[in-house]
Symmetry: C2
């Protein structure tokens, strides 16, 4: 079946406009490691998918899934050791203050739990996020997304301009002055909640501001924002759906930012493609959440989730993928920065570990965003066999986020193709 | 590890009060068909779990999962035939008017999609449910749950007393008179929305009112309620998370009720334990939903969901499980009704196919509910090796809902144990 026919069938069965990547979408039929293959046998280096973090179709993960699915997979209203072993191992990877876990099936569900936990603990309702965030697709979590849609406005949700160094608020400010300016935005929202008698519950952000475009975050912003939030009686939640599980070369985004949040939500890479997500927090917070809500999730905390989640942690550790992300990611960024010298549209090269953002601009002096240019590059690289995409608040940031098994050899072949592409502009 | 230690560890790692079944919880380690086994090798006939609808650890489902997880599992922004084949097959099992599908990871997520779809299509906000419903655990869907919690009151959500024949509103009414009385409750809520300038979006119910206690539903109520809702510009949504996939001996609960809803949500049995859920509706509704929301769900519409969901449909059809549910369920109900003659607390024997509710009462004349009695029976049957539970608006309905592979021999051994238990009261 041709892609034309597949697309027509898809529009019929799943609805017009079901999201797809690339101007000419690809028809992927097989994956292995960092490689994806289309129906005609064409090979692509996957440089975008962070869900299959230990690589597509990793045999150890598939085996764990097969073994558990063939032994037992049932809901969590019976005792089962697997989920306890998994929770324990996961919690040991977190800060000592985060001692208790709640599991769910998607990042959206995890953020639902996190928001509710913060609200139940504080008795508050008001939540602060950033103005270009995405944290999930449910009605409640969706309120945190893209505050530029006024029809979604909700008095309980406030956003601040996302803190960044590339197009900062406040002309001529830098370093800690800039941090102060963004912190003042947090304080202003807290004060406005108080003025409107909306009790404050907390703040929820991706610690890397991934959807905002993975910007350079003003020094100490996250740690100090957490203090501001706590001083006002709120809780600080980090959404580690993108930043977690060694993506940055550290286990968690909050480590990169040098602070510890009160509540952490996790998702995407957690099950290497099996729907698995969760929240960790201090025991008092979780106990109170359990007590207030009686939370139960049919498919979550299952033996299957536990076995697969555990296999993912084991592979990350046994294959040294945290170290690999730091090493190969650092190499990529250094090489890309060299290329930047001769490539005007590469306004900024940013990121942490195997999570890299390239700010695409039409003018490096004025830092004018060039979304169309970024889209064109992503499509050209796809035709050369490298899958990346564009993202960010202005849609002009090339987002590079391969499975953690991405090697220097893959980086080299990408860098060659990328250099060819930008030189051919 | 003893159950005492497992429970202590669970309270530490997952939080105090994480829900468990039975006064002395069971530690299940293995499943096969309708059987579950605890850590000491004790066998239980599973008569409660509708998620493993084709049986625990069904080899064909496990094989489909293994094969697909070992080939490709990636999000839905690439073209893939598997999800189209699955959507097509699933849609062919529905009424001809339901032509388009949206996939998700849990029943909660499916009901989030369904509510949003109805609201986007009608421009309305007001939703009617019943006063003892459960449709999921997110903030928005959670508003439909247990309207007796005034702290959850939301002007956009209204409930009606759930329609039933056993403890009906209106003394001495029966048949269509009773139906009219409950329909008047729907109309009253629609009129109250109008009076308060809340535009009406529709009604969401389980077509069997499963959580309400699987009551005898007054004749034609569902079909006529759908007409009332549509006449007021709303859409009628059935939540088939419990009633779908041949549980009743029909494919869908709406067939049992003799009508066709506008939007259908599905979950639990859909993936036999893999997180898989979805919504079907007419194409215009889905197209509009896609256009308004750009809905994307990282783990949904995946090749893995498609392969496993397809295997479940194939097994249901090839093993004749719809016919089995009708046959064995009918047999069980007939036998239980015979036992009812000599068992005072069995106030009512109800249900459809392999979904049976036993109303437990302290006095059959006054129909006084006996929740404690129902809990005791469930615990005693557990000790005899049969897993059921209590549910319903008053918590006094014994809920029997085994995997669809439940056979007459299983029914016979249950009936013997059940008769022994009730005679020993």
């Amino acid at each position: 079946m041709t892609n034309f026919h597949l697309l027509a069938r898809r529009n019929l069965l799943l609805g017009e406009g079901t999201p797809l990547f690339y101007e000419k979408p690809v028809h992927i039929v097989r994956g292995e490691g960092v490689m994806l293959y289309d129906a005609e046998g064409r090979q692509y280096v996957d440089m975008y998918n962070n869900v299959p973090c230990v690589g597509h179709t990793h045999p150890r993960v598939v085996q764990a899934m097969t073994d558990q699915a063939g032994t037992l997979n049932v809901h969590s209203r019976y005792l089962h050791e697997g989920i306890l072993d998994y929770a324990e191992r996961l919690l040991l990877l977190h800060d000592d203050s985060l001692t208790c876990a709640v599991f769910a099936c998607s990042g959206t569900e995890a953020n639902e739990v996190a928001l509710c936990m913060a609200r139940e603990a504080t008795g508050g309702r008001g939540i602060i996020c950033t103005d270009s965030a995405y944290h999930g697709n449910s009605a409640e979590v969706g309120k945190l997304t893209r505050q530029d849609r006024p029809d979604r406005a909700d008095p309980e949700i406030r956003s601040i301009p996302f803190p960044q160094c590339y197009r900062p608020m406040g002309d001529g400010l830098s370093g800690l002055e800039l941090t102060e300016l963004y912190l003042a935005e947090v304080t202003a929202q807290i004060e406005d909640f108080a003025a409107k008698d909306i009790p404050f519950a907390g703040m929820l952000v991706c610690p890397l501001l991934a959807n905002e475009g993975l910007p350079g975050i003003p020094e100490e912003f996250m740690a100090r924002a957490a203090n501001v939030v706590r001083a006002a009686g709120g809780l600080f939640i980090t959404d580690e759906v993108q930043s977690g599980f060694c993506r940055t070369g550290s286990w968690w985004g909050y480590e990169v930012m040098g602070f510890v949040p009160d509540i952490v939500s996790m998702g995407k890479p957690m099950g290497n493609g099996l729907p698995l997500a969760g929240v960790v927090a201090g025991k008092e917070l979780v106990d109170n959440y359990r007590k207030q809500t009686g939370y139960f999730n049919t498919f979550a905390s299952s033996p299957l989730q536990a076995a697969v989640g555990m296999a993912v942690l084991e592979v990350i550790e046994s294959e040294g993928l945290r170290e690999n992300a730091a090493d190969v990611g650092g190499y990529m960024r250094r090489e890309l920065k060299q290329l930047q010298a001769e490539c005007e549209p590469m306004g900024d090269v940013r990121g942490y570990g195997l999570f890299i953002g390239l700010e695409w601009v039409s003018d490096r002096e004025t830092r004018t965003s060039d979304r169309e240019g970024a889209v064109r590059i992503a499509n050209q690289l796809k035709d050369k066999g490298f899958l990346i995409s564009n993202a960010g608040a202005l849609g002009n940031v090339l987002k590079i986020r391969p499975p953690l098994v991405f090697q220097r050899t893959h980086a080299d072949s990408f860098l060659t193709a990328f250099a060819e592409t930008v030189r051919g502009l």
